[in-house]
Symmetry: D2
Subunit: 228 residues, 4 copies
């Protein structure tokens, strides 16, 4: 899976200049964020003043299997997307197969599953079956295209582990909302149980977020990873 | 495919009472929509006063293949969704196979394709291959579950023609936006080229819309099927 | 100030049928919400599964001074509005003047003010000045209209305590978000400091919400009044 | 009135790389937008493929009277705001008074007014009355603050022609939607009748939009100034 930050207009000082218009009015000049800014950002996060975090923009290029993209694109507010189309182009034979360490068994009850390692037989079955079905489905897809069948029809045979690619643009607030729901490191009060594959994507997003907006990221961590 | 209107709070008079607060202030009583209302609704549609159409609510239950649901759920603004989860439940072996009349070939250039009937060989290949891959993929899915593999992993083998089910709630404005993009009956000025399967779903939505809000629907038709 | 519930399509069972499509698939019949539903709703609230709360609709008719409407209409996501227009109609001379019990002094620091009763002199000044300026401004407005000045120009003299009226449509999720920010009864973890006048409006909304969706309301209360 | 572009991440090539992921998949490199891009952008605009225009971000600092800000902040989708607060700071005595050329009379019927110059008497009344009421209201405001009355109470006397300041962040799609509704240069098919003051603000936004995204702007103009 791939998560590349393509462009961004997002730094900690974007939060504080937007927040200060409430209390000071007028136009602030851009500065490097300071010690004092860290306190203001933490206060905004804690008291759920979410709007100052919206004057920021991140655009990511993402490659994931379809079953992950389906979860990703459920995030609507503050997110924009453009995705590769199975109607407009011939899809490439790139399929997701879980690596050896991927836990394969779920235990526990709905809403609070945990996942543990599969045994040898399970691992062999998962990897073998996914490779076999993917190959067979793609060969069928290619043959239907050769026969002159429209791409939008031929693609119906393809499994949800085929890769897709998309651009996703968000702001820091909508990104934090995503991270709060799609990572399991959230605090005990608000547990989340994301599927491992989307959590891996979320971690890619999180790395870039932490790099570009370190004070905001620290405040997000300090306040239970709940988006304001 | 299935489109059922589950509940709604949407009638033409909802548009006019909301619009009249602008010009008359105060609280209007509900009435049956009248002749005069038809003119007001048409004016609002023509001049793109969209907000009065938002004080309405439709909840649909929809069953479609995944490749259709993926297009449907791209509609974000004014839409709410809850979908069947391949993580929380065992999916059922219901797959989409195009019926005999479904055009199988595309002609023309990107952005303006048209679709024509396939020949006998194409039809046989499409229907045969979809049935074969669907069956094989589902048998593999069932076997992985029997082996104790988690549902969220086993489902990776399933093709995008498997059915999913979801609830979708929208208002009249977001519904018209959907219809303008996902039906091909739109006027020449703003052509749309929806895939046949989502157009069939759109027609199900449209039937209910026309029934519940006939004056609004007539104004939508009269103004080029462009959402205000 | 006025808050009237004009229409709604919102009950507790709307939440549970939407939630159950995830785990059961297929179309649920509507039932009265049961004991079991209370548990499910509480789980959804606690674990921040917000989308099932969106398949609901409330339309309110509201009368408030402009300074309150300006705060109210800042709520964007899941809210639709139509408001009385000072361009399209002649505004009526109805002005807000704080009643005797309204605290008039703020103490404490920004972000955590508390409000205490004013003394006799403050109360007299506030009430007297508001009445005087409102009267004078409205007389000026009326005179400008008599002179043939356009409404959109004449209204520029009117103070922000003049009443406006609007329709607001939301769903249970966006309504809870409003209540969490615009009432002060929120728990200590997430304090809110709404202005008294918008809090009074929020309480009107809350009364209707509690009446129409008692299980959802109980879960909102039990989970710190934080919207899922 | 003031409209300053504070920061942006928006150029024509942002539209085309997002659009091309549909038809080409994979990650495009950034290039200067080319001749070919102009054609693609025009096609997207004409056929209402709106999402590629969303991977862009503009942040404006705006100063307007309250009656203009109230119209501006009605734009919800794809817009983020932070505004100066009359609760958190003492407002400054800056008031809007129409300049000599501002048309003062409306003729025609609701929904299609046009505005013409006022006579000498009207102009004198408007300018004199606004100055008088503004001064008197602000003196009252200042006196209430001196008496120890809370800012959130004292501000109730202030008229809607007092200036406020805010940051507004949007993307190219939401910006075009604003321009289509808040300027009168829109084509005959979709007429708009904005108040002169918000149109002046819209022109400030438009100048920056045209400068940063010239191909997109040209396509917007060529397609009737209707946002895709």
């Amino acid at each position: 899976m791939t998560v590349n930050l393509i462009k961004h207009a997002a730094e900690d000082s974007d939060v504080t200049f937007a927040a200060r218009v409430s209390t000071q009015g007028g136009e602030s000049r851009f500065n490097e964020a300071s010690e004092k800014d860290a306190g203001l950002i933490n206060y905004l996060m804690r008291d759920r003043h979410g709007s100052p975090f919206e004057h920021t923009s991140f655009t990511f290029y993402v490659e994931t299997p379809i079953f992950v993209a389906r979860e990703f694109l459920r995030h609507r507010v503050g997110w924009s997307y453009n995705e590769e189309s199975g109607r407009y182009r011939e899809l490439q034979p790139v399929f997701y197969v879980p690596a050896d360490g991927r836990p394969l068994r779920q235990v526990g009850k709905p809403g609070a599953y945990s996942f543990i390692q599969g045994d040898y037989k399970q691992k062999a079955a998962v990897q073998g079956d996914l490779r076999r079905i993917s190959t067979e489905a793609y060969e069928t897809y290619a043959r239907l295209l050769d026969l002159g069948v429209a791409r939008e029809v031929a693609r119906m045979v393809l499994p949800v582990n085929i890769f897709t690619s998309f651009y996703a643009t968000c702001n820091a607030r909508s990104l934090m909302h995503f991270l709060g729901l799609r990572t399991s490191r959230t605090n005990a009060r608000f547990p989340s149980f994301p599927q491992a594959e989307i959590e891996a994507v979320a971690e890619g997003l999180e790395t870039e977020f932490a790099r570009q907006m370190p004070l905001t990221y620290a405040a997000f961590e300090a306040n239970g990873r709940v988006a304001p």
